[in-house]
Amino acid sequence: MPRRISWWVGGILMALLLLFTFSTLGAGRPFGASTYVPYFAGILFDLDPQKYPYLQEVHNAGAWEGVMLLGALVGGFFTSVFITKSFRFSIMPTGWKKYKNNSVMSRLVWSFISGFLLIIGARMAGGCTSGHFLSGMGQTAISSMIFGGVVLITLVVTGKLFYSKEALDD
């Protein structure tokens, strides 16, 4: 069995999954993957939905994505162990070592900060790569095109500023 699929096989499969999710045979709703985070935060910190209106707003979508996410963890785990053979415990991405630095502390602090901001940004915009890019632009939504354009530009500008231009020698 091949260890990976090419970008176009991945793209076609992702389109089919998206269409199945939208269809009345599947879930009859868009595909999304960032609403589960405040939903889980509400559960973990035992926040009362009566006091926090946002929790009421994400109650149904958060639960849907929570169940979907459990599936994604299972699917990702088995694929990494048996197909891509890429499962291993690691704390430092190879690319970080190559284009940023060798410090585990730096990677972990930046992970925490960027993980925090990622969710703030996604919830402000009302979606992420899944909800806006895939589902939103798949519906030709103007909101998602605005988000998509802003994200692509910021992503590339940040990439230019944050990482070194040449691979660092180790």
């Binding site: 699929i5 970008w7 793209g11 499969l13 992702m14 389109a15 999954l17 998206l18 269409l19 599947g26 595909f31 960032s34 985070v37 405040p38 889980f40 935060a41 559960i43 973990l44 035992d46 926090y52 169940v67 994604a72 299972v74 699917g75 990702g76 785990f77 694929t79 990494s80 197909i83 053979k85 890429s86 690691s90 991405p93 190879t94 690319g95 925490f112 993980g115 925090f116 990622l118 969710i119 940004g121 402000m124 915009a125 009302g126 992420c128 899944s130 939103g136 798949g138 519906q139 030709t140 939504a141 998602s144 605005i146 988000f147 354009g149 802003v150 994200v151 692509l152 910021t154 990482y163």
Partner: protein, 200 residues
Amino acid sequence: MIDRILGMFTTVSQEPHGSVWIVFLIGVAFGVIVQYSRVDKFEKIAGFAMLRDTVVPKMLFLAIGIASIALYFMVEAGYASFHPKPVMLGGLIIGGIIFGAAMAIFGKCPGTGPISIAEGRIDVMVGAVGGIFGGLVFTVYFDTFKKIIGESLGKPTLVSLFQGHETLVVLIFGIGLIIISIMIPLREELDNEDLKQLES
């Protein structure tokens, strides 16, 4: 807390958006596709930010191109419906800037992050803890965030804006994106640690 976790399954089973098993299997398929195409990797997402890897934009644009055309005809035939998100300029622009910068540094997005954790990435786990705190802060200070996000300017789509020419507009949009996905030159930033593991 256990009650509320179990409540998650009850909520899904009571909603008309697929049985718990269907939703779970949609997740499994998502995990397999993302993992199998390797787009959960730091080298793919941060690599795209550095313009050293183009698998993510190629795959994304191809998927959107195909899905936009097929979804339009599915909606016409009554097998699906549109649920576009509202235009709220503050949220989309400021949220988009924060999201894009964070995605470049983290090398993950909210959907690919958990799949990376399933692959054993501990740094992503730390980022997920940060994400949970992000969700907490957003929930607690929702009133303040709502002011930055701004008013909804409606939920326009290309289909709703070009009434009378919907089919043509959707075909141009979809085929255009498919052509872009093919035209973006393929560049790949491979992870030697992964390759080593395959050899052994």
